[in-house]
């Protein structure tokens, strides 16, 4: 139990997707102008991530790993299909995003309109594919994968909502012209990343 709690805290704070690995920076910078849309995107990302990372784990474990196909036929036990991981992972993610898009369009048209182009762009949100690839690289088991995906998704949500809150206040401040918009967003993210560095080394 402690191990999982530790992993969760690590994924949310210590190795935050945005501040430590810069995963998902594109949508993070583009959608963080208003808290409402930012939190909508954050929730969508958590949802897609918790859906796809364990799914990709299952694909990896029972289809791709060296010897994983042994359950089909013993003669396939030596087959190693890990080189197909990228294509299968991204297909799973693209499919899941399509699903989320349909659900959101049906149940919350206002959220659908405000998210606009960024809903399909969750597919290319690096943090989602990144979570699956980290899962593969670090060889997590199923429950670890689940905890890790929840943590990474929550970390993204936290980062984008914090950033949106700061940017809403920023509208009233006097920033030099060339630095407005993207420039200051980068520097603020840097400062926030420095703040998050102080979490490093925390063990529960």
């Amino acid at each position: 139990m402690e191990h999982y709690l530790n992993m969760l805290v690590k994924a949310i704070f210590v190795e935050n997707a945005i501040f430590a690995f810069f995963l998902g920076m594109c949508s993070y910078l583009a959608v963080s102008k208003k808290i409402k849309t930012a939190s909508g995107l954050g929730i969508a990302v958590i949802f897609v991530m918790v859906l796809t990372t364990p799914l990709n784990y299952v694909i990896l474990e029972y289809l791709l790993r060296p010897g994983a196909l042994g359950w089909v036929h013993p003669s396939l036990a030596t087959v190693d299909l890990t080189f197909l991981a990228f294509i299968l992972f991204i297909s799973t993610i693209a499919g899941a995003v399509q699903l989320v898009e349909m659900v959101v369009e049906k149940f919350s048209p206002s959220l659908y309109n405000s998210l606009g182009i960024f809903l399909p762009l969750i597919t290319v949100n690096c943090s989602i594919l990144g979570a699956s690839l980290f899962m593969q690289e670090r060889e997590y088991n199923f429950s670890e994968t689940l905890v890790f995906s929840i943590g990474t998704g929550t970390g993204f949500f936290l980062a984008i909502v914090l950033m949106a809150a700061i940017r809403e206040r920023l509208r009233y401040s006097n920033i030099p012209n060339p630095l407005q918009g993207l420039g200051i967003a980068m520097i603020i993210t840097g400062l926030m990343a420095m703040a998050f560095l102080s979490f490093s080394g925390i063990q529960l």
């Binding site: 594109c26 399909p120 690096c126 690839l133 918009g181 840097g190």
Partner: protein, 224 residues
């Protein structure tokens, strides 16, 4: 550019290969329409692989190849892609190319491949690739699309290398692994700036780059 302009007369019959328009397509992403600092695409990997110059260079080459060839292929088959599933088709093409790059890296440069870890795979979701496919390759002929891919890849590479050079030089006193800061400097009390090795510094450096670029070119104010 001078070498390219000389080839123009021979092919002036149709639209020449390096006509003025095509040259613009190639050159714009290097500065005025830079994928990272102006279009805000592909920032994730730009920040994460820039601690040292070598991974940054290899990443830049990888992204350039993938962007160029995926633009070429998608532009080639753009008329036969059904609109609703174009995203998945694009992703499969990109994933295929990235798998190739990844396998080649693993075979010939294993240490760099280890250092880049998941970021090679993340070229698939690099917004530059998808962004250019959507914005350019889906509506243009293969050759301009290919040039656009090269231009954007190189524009991305420039930022990567600038940031990586600053970070490696001040962070570990070396470039491409060769020690540049002499030992006597350390003896006299020079210290590497450990801050440069940490993630936040990449953000500051790109922020400052954007600041300088926009101060020189007021056209770019408030583009995003």
């Amino acid at each position: 550019m001078s070498a390219e302009t000389t080839t123009v007369p021979q092919e002036a019959k149709k639209e020449s290969l390096f006509s003025k328009k095509n040259r613009r397509v190639l050159r714009d992403p290097l500065d005025d329409n830079n994928p990272i600092t102006v279009q805000v695409l592909g920032i994730c990997s730009a920040l994460a692989v820039t601690v040292q110059v070598k991974p940054a260079l290899i990443m830049a080459v990888g992204v350039t190849l993938v962007t160029a060839f995926s633009s070429l292929i998608i532009s080639w088959i753009r008329d036969s892609i059904p609109g609703r599933i174009r995203m998945i088709v694009q992703l499969v093409v990109v994933a295929l190319l990235v798998t190739l790059v990844d396998q080649i890296l693993k075979a010939y440069m294993f240490d760099v491949s280890k250092k880049l870890s998941v970021f090679v795979g993340l070229i698939i979701t690099n917004c530059i690739v998808m962004g250019r496919l959507e914005a350019f390759a889906m509506a243009q002929k293969p050759w301009p699309a290919f040039l656009d891919g090269i231009g954007n890849g190189v524009g991305y590479g420039i930022i990567l290398v600038v940031v990586a050079v600053i970070r490696e030089l001040f962070g570990s006193g070396s470039l491409l692994g060769y020690k540049l800061v002499p030992q006597w400097a350390y003896d006299m009390g020079y210290v590497n700036n450990g801050m440069m090795m940490l993630p936040p510094m990449a953000l500051f450096l790109i922020g400052i780059y954007i600041w300088i670029q926009r101060a020189r070119n007021p056209k770019l104010y408030n583009v995003s």
